[in-house]
Symmetry: C3
């Protein structure tokens, strides 16, 4: 059984690439969205009603919920191959919160960590076109910066967990190639 973490900045095309790759690998992996699962856990406990409320919870409750989410995923991962869809870092203006702190990483104990990357300019253009989501209008430079620190963070994750470090480049207009590259890594 394999546990894989997949990450990428908003607009890198992670979801599209992942969905296409998974379709080709029918049922081999269950995709778990870390944030969604954490939200469900908190909603069941009646601690939040909406996703936005999650950030406003005090730190200890958030930290506990994060740990419970990891333990739930680890339990699932005993029975099936899991892909965890999550954030490497969460940006707020000039601050970056590490997506997965050390204690959570060591519970998840991933076999592979996959970063989906695109050129910062393409990410900028995709974000500008996306009307369904409210996204910060980060500059190309800032997008580049977040991708760079995400690489560093992801490698740090790999050192702590022995996970294999993998990169998938997702060029606009080459979704098929990107999803094939990802599929290769998931085989």
């Amino acid at each position: 059984m394999k546990t894989i973490i997949i990450m990428g900045v908003p607009g890198c095309g992670k979801t599209s690439v992942l969905e296409l790759a998974i379709k080709k690998l029918k049922n081999k992996y269950k995709i778990v969205n870390y944030g969604t699962l954490m939200f469900e856990i908190l909603k069941t406990k009646k601690l939040v009603k909406t996703r936005d409320e999650m950030r406003k919870l005090n730190e200890k409750i958030q930290s506990n919920a994060q740990k419970q989410t990891a333990e739930k995923i680890k339990k699932l991962a005993k029975k099936q191959n899991i892909i965890i869809d999550t954030h490497c870092s969460i940006q707020t203006k000039n601050s970056y919160l590490i997506g997965l702190p050390e204690n959570i990483l060591k519970i998840l104990n991933p076999d592979q960590i996959i970063l989906v990357e695109s050129s910062p300019k393409e990410i900028f253009d995709r974000r500008a076109k996306d009307e369904t989501r409210v996204r910060d209008n980060d500059s190309v430079e800032k997008i580049n910066f977040q991708q760079e620190i995400n690489r560093t963070i992801a490698l740090s994750f790999c050192v702590l967990t022995k996970a294999l470090f993998c990169i998938v480049e997702n060029k606009t207009g080459h979704l098929m190639k990107s999803s094939n590259d990802l599929m290769e890594l998931l085989k």
Copy 2:
């Protein structure tokens, strides 16, 4: 109570930016210089007379003093908000010593890690003008290299401690903006 670590290469303007930001946030934070506090601890124990002697102490004594410094800071941090002013890496020719090893970091348990950065060229010029301090005449390239590895080290610190990673850019002639940016992060 918050514990914040602030770091930056010599000449990045960390002290000026920090002092101005703190003035605006009257009494909200106590600034602790890690090196100075460690020196005082060693001087009280009569292990050194001058700061220069600190580097010549044997490794075990240095390591113990570093730990005692961290524990003293942690004690202070229970009663007030602390900003720890320290080095991310200490350069000697082609070697870089990590400013805060893992055990020290975990004692300090910072909420935020802030890097003050400037363009390598501006740092070079500031160092050239600074007559009060004896500084190595590093090339622009070498200054750039140390800033790059400092980012990587600081991110590694954040992964180990869950601290928020923050950057303040300090352009020559824009001290007011830089200190406002820092103030925002300290609020």
Copy 3:
């Protein structure tokens, strides 16, 4: 007694630089090749006959052998200065395996970690000329990428172990200078 880890991508010239530096420092260090020692341990146990078979062993056996190798080196390191020659990352297509996971690093407990680097273009040219080894024909860009992630990984190693981070640049035609730079770091 010192334990030093030296690493670099294939074609960076690590072996030539190291051999020349060691010759000048007669007998001061014993060089241990991590992979070779691990192979010998596995061969003695009759788990493999050739080096290639090592990669095909199941993960637990590999992981155990890696740990035994580290413990053997640590034992040697009590009696003499050791230089461990190993890989920072092992590349397979778009995947990178971390050379030394956290538990191994903490057994080795190195004093220094030295990266030998060359310009990606020079590495490319050296690999193209090298007829004795079967090497992937990585592009200059890909060589650059691996060197960049190796820096990040090596720094992460240093944060976990307090080891001094060192770089030796090895320009084609300047072997004497590179080996002198290395020698300085080994003194």
